[in-house]
Structure formats: structure tokens, C-alpha cells
Amino acid sequence: MARALITMPKTAKRGEIVEIRTLIAHPMETGYRAGDDGQLVPRDLIRRFSCRYDGELVFSAELFPAVAANPYITFCTLATASGTLQFSWEGDRGFSQTENVVLTVT
């Protein structure tokens, strides 16, 4: 049950700075904690987040065990032309989620 919330304007003026806020459901298990049975819970982290604007990488981040569950990442980009922003999260155990949001530039 992977879910993501992306908050950003649908339209922007050319040259305007757009604030993008993302939230994704993920346990971000560090691999250092023991479960109820005393055994270590295997590490399960999102390792990398990236945002591509019409194929061009505009933002990326590496994530580590110190990041809390359900990571919230916010950043800005310059609205250049109408296009699709592709957000992708990749991590342990083959975790991968991609969301697309269309930005119309006037």
C-alpha cells in the first residue's frame, strides 16, 4: 500500500518559482531496531528520491536511516515550459514508486 501526496500549483507563469511538497507512506525501517521477537527488523529504507521535469533532473536527494517514517520532502523549481513532473522514490527490497503531475505554464 504505497501512497504519495504531492502538493503543488497546477499552473504557473513562465519564470515563476514553484514550490513542490511531497509526502510518501514508508516505514523507513533503520535495520537497527529489534522486533517483538528480539530479532533485528531488516533494513527497509527509501534510498533515493528524484524529480524530473520533462525528463530533465531538477532535484534529487539521498535518504538515510535518520530520516523519519513517511518522509516529507519539499523543494522549488523554475517553471520553464508546460510539461510533466515525474517524481520517483526508490529503495530497499525493490521499492519503487513513480507519480506524474502535469504543470501548465502560461
Binding site: T7, R21, A25, A68, N70
Partner: protein, 251 residues
């Protein structure tokens, strides 16, 4: 004339100051408050979003979705959470909003009951409860609830566990004080299900109560136990008129 005016001022100030009840929100740091104020930051919205999808998803052998009977939640579910726990005629006991949802899942959708505290149930419960955000808590004036609520109040004031503490000793007598690094809130159930930073997830009021009960080294009641619902009934009466904040964030 002047005396009259003075008396009026005194009455007015007493009227405004007489309600000393404070939501747990007001005991939080500005940073945690900011997470709750902004839906784009509030991780509980992930569950709400899931609940909104579940509201429209057909389930069970009846192949019926919540929306097929209830219609759009923003209108049909508005204010519902302010009235729970409510008396359930079928089981002749008070039930919580989560138990009401589960009864619907079993009786109307003919689906398997959702496990208490499961992500699916919390998602639906938070979605339904959010439709009452900003509305005052309004427990039903149902005489059948009275004996349960009285037992709830008794439990609230009863010393329990190896620490020999009652709910009232912390949350009535020492609210605003500190328990180690944490501020003791007044225990008003205004924002459940809550996203608790300590849990790194969403949890119901029963989970919170169980946490407190095991915190004073007493044996917690199991999920769905009538004692927990009785406590919830008393807490709802105690918080009557306070505004629902669901989905709230707490430290």
C-alpha cells in the same frame, strides 16, 4: 451606573476565562503544530487519502461500496464523528466510530471484519472523522449511555497499576506539568485517529489509552473492550463543545 459597568466587565471576563480546557494541540511545540496546520505536511493525510479511496471501493460478497449507500462523505459524514461513542441497539452497548464502521463492513458489505488498529480501518476512520473537522464534540443525550459513562468516569478516577495512578491525577490535577521530557496534556480526545510522532504512524484513541494504562504498569484492556469504550464515553462528555481536529498530530 459605574458599579453596574464594573459588574458587567467581571461577568464577561469570567465567562471567557471559565473554560480552562485546552486541546493537546496547545501543549505542543510550534514545529509540531505546524505539521498539523498544513495538510500537505501532515502525514495522517496519507491515511485519509487511502480512506477516501476505500470509501468508493466495492468490497465483500455484497459488492457494495460505502458511497453506494451513504453518498458523498463530505455531506453524509459531516458531524458523525462528533456523536461517537454512541449506543448500538444490536449489541446493547456503546460502540466507537471504528466499531460502527466495522459493523457496516460486516453487515452491509458482507466482508470480513477489519482488524482493530489495522491500517484499513484507521484509514476509513480518519477519512470519516475528518469530515467533522472544526465541529464541536456533541455526545448524544441517550439515557442508555448513562450507566456506561458513569463506569467510565469511575475508571478515570480509579488508581490502577503498580504506579497506583489514576487518569485524573495526571490529566486533571497535573495537566500542564511535565512527565520527564513531555508536557502532560488535559487528555481531550479532539483529534483521533492521531498521527503520533512517537508511533511514526496513525493510531486510535484506544491505542493511546492502552499506552497510558501500560505506562502506569497496569494490564491494558484489549482492543474493543467495553471498558475502553466507557472511558471514551466519559472523555467525550468531558470534551463536549471542543472542536474536532482530526487528523491531528501529536508528539
Amino acid at each position: 451606573m459605574r458599579r453596574w459597568w464594573l459588574a458587567l466587565c467581571v461577568v464577561a471576563s469570567v465567562g471567557a476565562a471559565s473554560d480552562t480546557r485546552r486541546s493537546g494541540f496547545e501543549f505542543m511545540t510550534p514545529e509540531t503544530q505546524a505539521i498539523q496546520r498544513d495538510d500537505a505536511q501532515n502525514p495522517a493525510m496519507l491515511w485519509v487519502q487511502e480512506g477516501a479511496a476505500a470509501w468508493e471501493r466495492k468490497a465483500g460478497t455484497a459488492a457494495r461500496a460505502c458511497i453506494d449507500c451513504h453518498g458523498a462523505a463530505p455531506t453524509s459524514m459531516k458531524g458523525v464523528a462528533t456523536r461517537y461513542p454512541a449506543f448500538d441497539a444490536a449489541t446493547r452497548r456503546p460502540i466507537t466510530l471504528g466499531q460502527r464502521i466495522n459493523a457496516c463492513v460486516v453487515d452491509r458489505q458482507h466482508a470480513a471484519a477489519l482488524v482493530p488498529e489495522s491500517q484499513e480501518l484507521l484509514a476509513l476512520e480518519s477519512f470519516v472523522a475528518m469530515q467533522s473537522r472544526g465541529l464541536p464534540i456533541a455526545p448524544p443525550e441517550d439515557p442508555r449511555l448513562a450507566p456506561f459513562r458513569e463506569r467510565g468516569e469511575k475508571l478515570y478516577r480509579q488508581r490502577i497499576g503498580q504506579l497506583d495512578l489514576s487518569c485524573a491525577q495526571c490529566h486533571d490535577e497535573r495537566a500542564g506539568g511535565r512527565l520527564a521530557g513531555a508536557t502532560i496534556p488535559q487528555a481531550h480526545p479532539t483529534g483521533y485517529p492521531i498521527y503520533r510522532l512517537e508511533w511514526q504512524g496513525l493510531g486510535s484513541l484506544q491505542r493511546r489509552l492502552r499506552g497510558c494504562i501500560s505506562g502506569v504498569r497496569a494490564e491494558p484492556f484489549s482492543y474493543g473492550a467495553v471498558e475502553l469504550t466507557e472511558l471514551e464515553l466519559y472523555l467525550a462528555r468531558r470534551a463536549t463543545g471542543m472542536k474536532i481536529e482530526t487528523p491531528a498530530v501529536r508528539p
